[in-house]
């Protein structure tokens, strides 16, 4: 009997403790913030924009009603969070936040003071994506509301960010990686670059405005110019022909070389996520476009796969025909950094699948295959070299983390700090080698010749 009484007392005590969740809140009391945006404030230090989920069933409703965007100016992110509770009838929480969007202005000023509260907070995870927008963070979030292909706002950014591995056009950038790079003597941080679609009408309007201005000024000189033009007509025609050929090749080579807002497109989501924001210490110093971001990821080992377009390796066909390849990471890159000779040696290992050969040449096998592999290898080598030099000369920032490879050459942490890698990086000599192998050729193993009946010839044999 005594045991039962004791047990009963213990259990009663347990029941007293069980409702002890002093901080308990019902789910419908909470306002789940999905994205936080940081802009420079006008009336206070920063303008913080929150994209809040409306916790109601989305099924059968318009997707854009799934979230609400609110902005408030405050001295800090947490002060802003408190303030929104004064006009949003939910207790806002950032425990489910997905991404931090920072405006270019703030990023150029220095991000460390904004990163500090983010890494200290027990609510916010360091796995939050870190995005930099060339315009205002508020504008980006405002446009992020318009979900077209995704019903669930929280999934939209997750799916966008899988492009890191599927196309390589954006880097895998989160608060954790940024903070780690910020504290490392061997690398510099990056963030993903995002923006809003520039409307075609706006662009056209600007172009028209420019043309009108030109016309007004140009009327007086028109006759004189016409005369000069006629004189140079023959010369120009020849030059134009060359230009057309070159520009087409350039177009092919510059495919994917876009930053947000530049993609020539119609339809789709209003936001664009392409490119990389480059930091030196905690300050934004420049951008990499989509194409450069792919090469950046090849060097860091983050590249998974992506479709690449090259001019045909044949000097004759190269002007008008292209080759499409899906390039995949073969294995992790080999990077050797020699602090004695101040040399960086990069070896990339890539594999590819042929997606299209417009010229119909049989690049799938034999010497032509070797020719294609060498051509692609050289092309990638040159592009990677150009990118590394850009980070050395223009940005003076080791975003690749080459400095991490010098750890092995030094015995102690202090030796490594004293080596001052980040100061020395720009003067290092770089060599790149790409080992590219065509592993598959789609579901065809050769291209049969096309018979051009009218001209009586077989084109490609």
């Amino acid at each position: 009997m005594r045991r039962e009484v004791i047990l009963l007392v213990w259990i009663s005590f347990c029941f007293l403790l069980l409702p002890g969740c002093w901080g308990s809140m019902e789910t419908d009391q909470l306002g789940y913030v999905l994205v936080i945006g940081l802009d420079k404030g006008e009336e206070n230090i920063i303008k913080v924009t929150f994209q809040l989920a409306i916790p109601e069933p989305i099924e059968g409703r318009q997707a854009e009603k799934g979230t609400e965007v609110v902005s408030v100016e405050a001295p800090s992110i947490f002060a802003a969070q408190e303030l929104i509770d004064t006009f949003v009838s939910k207790r806002s929480t950032i425990i489910h936040n997905k991404a931090i969007v920072v405006s270019e202005d703030i990023a150029r000023e220095g991000l460390s003071k904004y990163i500090n509260p983010l890494v200290r907070s027990s609510d916010l995870r360091r796995t939050n994506y870190l995005l930099v927008t060339q315009g205002k963070a508020h504008d980006f979030i405002q446009e992020n509301v318009n979900l077209i292909f995704e019903r669930y706002p929280s999934r939209q950014l997750d799916i966008f960010m899988t492009s890191t591995y599927m196309t390589g056009l954006i880097p895998n950038a989160d608060v954790h990686k940024f903070y780690e790079a910020l504290n490392s003597p061997g690398r510099q941080p990056i963030a993903a670059l995002v923006g809003v679609e520039k409307k075609k009408e706006e662009t056209q309007k600007k172009e028209q405005q420019g043309e009108e201005d030109k016309e007004q000024q140009g009327d007086q000189d028109k006759k004189q110019q016409d005369r000069q033009n006629k004189e140079q007509e023959g010369e120009q025609q020849a030059q134009d022909k060359k230009k057309e050929t070159k520009s087409e090749k350039e177009k092919v080579e510059e495919a994917m070389a876009y930053v947000p807002g530049e993609i020539p497109r119609e339809g789709g989501n209003k936001i664009e996520i392409i490119g990389t924001a480059v930091f030196k210490d905690d300050r934004l110093v420049g951008f990499l476009n989509g194409k450069e971001t792919r090469y950046y990821q090849m060097v860091t080992g983050g590249f998974g796969r992506g479709n690449f377009t090259f001019p045909d390796p044949d000097p004759v066909e190269g002007g008008s025909n292209i080759i499409n390849l899906e390039i995949m990471k073969g294995r992790s890159p080999e990077i050797k950094v020699d602090p004695d000779q101040e040399k960086i040696n990069v070896r990339l290992f890539l594999e590819g699948e042929i997606l299209s050969i417009q010229s119909g040449e049989n690049y799938e096998q034999g010497t032509l295959k070797k020719q294609l592999e060498d051509y692609v290898s050289n092309h990638i080598t040159q592009e990677v070299m150009r990118l590394i030099r850009k980070t050395q000369d223009e940005y003076r920032s080791d975003i690749f983390g080459f400095g991490e490879f010098t750890r092995i050459d030094l015995l102690t942490w202090q030796d490594w700090v004293d080596y001052e890698w980040l100061r020395k990086y720009p003067r290092y000599e770089v060599s790149v080698e790409t080992v590219f192998k065509v592993r598959r050729s789609g579901i065809m193993i050769r291209t049969a010749p096309i018979h051009r009946g009218g001209e009586g010839g077989v084109r490609n044999e």
Binding site: C14, G20, R126, D158, E180, R407, I408, L411, W413
Partner: protein, 364 residues
């Protein structure tokens, strides 16, 4: 001799949990502070040294078969000094466990029960620990034996699913803060394995020969050493030095870093269950060892009348530090910086036994 008997695997689990529990609080942070990029080597060196010291301590225990360290202290130092030293040991265990209680409470407040008063969390932990200790060492060691595979599984799972962060370069430069700090901190680092001494105080519960007792110690230290080494290595790869020195509860930060796609993230709640259970067990073990040593010192028939008093004492000691930072500092000072003292007392006793040639006849 006690009537209660503990099996080999139960006692091994008991000691392993006592040692390994540090992973769930600040141990990885402290070690990376001491060793920087070479921190993963520290548990390895310290562990090997601790095994050596344990084997020496076993020589002392072998000279007094079946006697606990409490009794041996009295036999070697005399009734007055012996009791005094044992009281110091009780105080050490008591303060250390009380500080652990505070650190567990702070960790719980910071991670899951952010709005719950610290005292309520402390009561919850103490309630579980007191209840377990009330049922005796059998309950504790069997719980430990059942829980250990799950605890180990949870720790190893955390380490494995963090594989996207693996980058072995982060474990370099190999000498960390330098040769001397590495050596010094390896020596001081034996504190991490100091809990193995509890085995010497609980020897009266072990119904088997000295070889098995020795094996329990070696096995416990070896498994803990292996776990510490891989845990620190992974921690350093995820939170690169010096950011690794910032985190209050490293394992919590590690579990929050798990991101294996949209559907496999935010999994820390799962692992917190294991951490909380380990905390309950560790507190119960600390409370039991404290009471058992006191019972042996004062030659009491049972420790049960002291249970409520000591629970209150633990609660009081736990709330002596003014704030979180002070409690973490004092706990790490006692546990990590001066925890090696746990090895010093039995080694001094062994020296005295050798000099006074005590216990030789018993061996013969």
């Amino acid at each position: 001799m006690n009537k209660v008997r503990i099996g080999y695997s139960e006692m091994t689990a008991f000691i392993i949990i006592m040692i390994v529990m540090k992973i769930f609080i600040g141990y990885p942070r402290i070690i990376t502070q001491q060793g920087a990029t070479a921190a993963w080597l520290l548990p390895l060196f310290s562990g090997l040294l601790a095994i050596g010291l344990w084997l020496l301590i076993m020589r002392l225990l072998e000279r007094f078969p079946g006697e606990s360290l409490t009794k041996i202290t009295e036999l070697l130092l005399g009734p007055v000094l012996g009791v005094a030293v044992n009281i110091v040991v009780v105080t050490f265990f008591c303060i250390k466990t009380a500080l652990l209680l505070r650190v567990f409470c702070e960790a719980t407040t910071l991670t899951i029960l952010t709005e719950t008063p610290l005292s309520a969390i402390a009561l919850l932990y103490l309630f579980g620990a007191t209840l377990t200790v009330y049922h005796g060492i059998e309950a504790i060691s069997r719980s430990a034996s059942i829980a250990l595979p799950y605890i180990l599984f949870s720790i190893l799972t955390v380490l494995v699913v963090l594989y996207p962060y693996y980058d072995f370069k982060k474990l370099l430069p190999i000498m960390g803060l330098g040769g001397w700090p590495l050596l010094k901190n390896s020596l001081v680092g034996i504190s991490s394995f100091g809990e193995v001494i509890a085995l010497a105080y609980l020897i009266s519960f072990l119904p088997f020969d000295k070889r098995k007792i020795r094996k329990i110690g070696v096995k416990s230290i070896s498994i803990s050493m292996f776990l510490f080494t891989i845990f620190i290595a992974v921690y350093l790869m995820v939170f690169v030095y010096p950011t690794s020195t910032e985190t209050f509860v490293p394992i919590y930060q590690l579990t929050r870093s798990i991101f294996l796609g949209h559907y496999l993230q935010r999994v820390e709640a799962f692992f917190i269950t294991f951490a909380a259970f380990t905390a309950f067990l560790r507190l119960a073990m600390g409370l039991f060892v404290t009471l058992h040593v006191l019972k042996d010192t004062l030659k009491l028939p049972s420790y049960h009348p002291l249970l409520a008093v000591f629970s209150l004492l633990f609660f009081t000691f736990a709330f002596t530090p003014k704030d979180m930072v002070q409690s973490v500092y004092v706990e790490s000072l006692l546990g990590m910086n001066y925890g090696w003292i746990a090895f010093v007392l039995p080694l001094l006793l062994y020296l005295i036994a050798l000099l006074r040639k005590k216990g030789e006849n018993r061996v013969k």
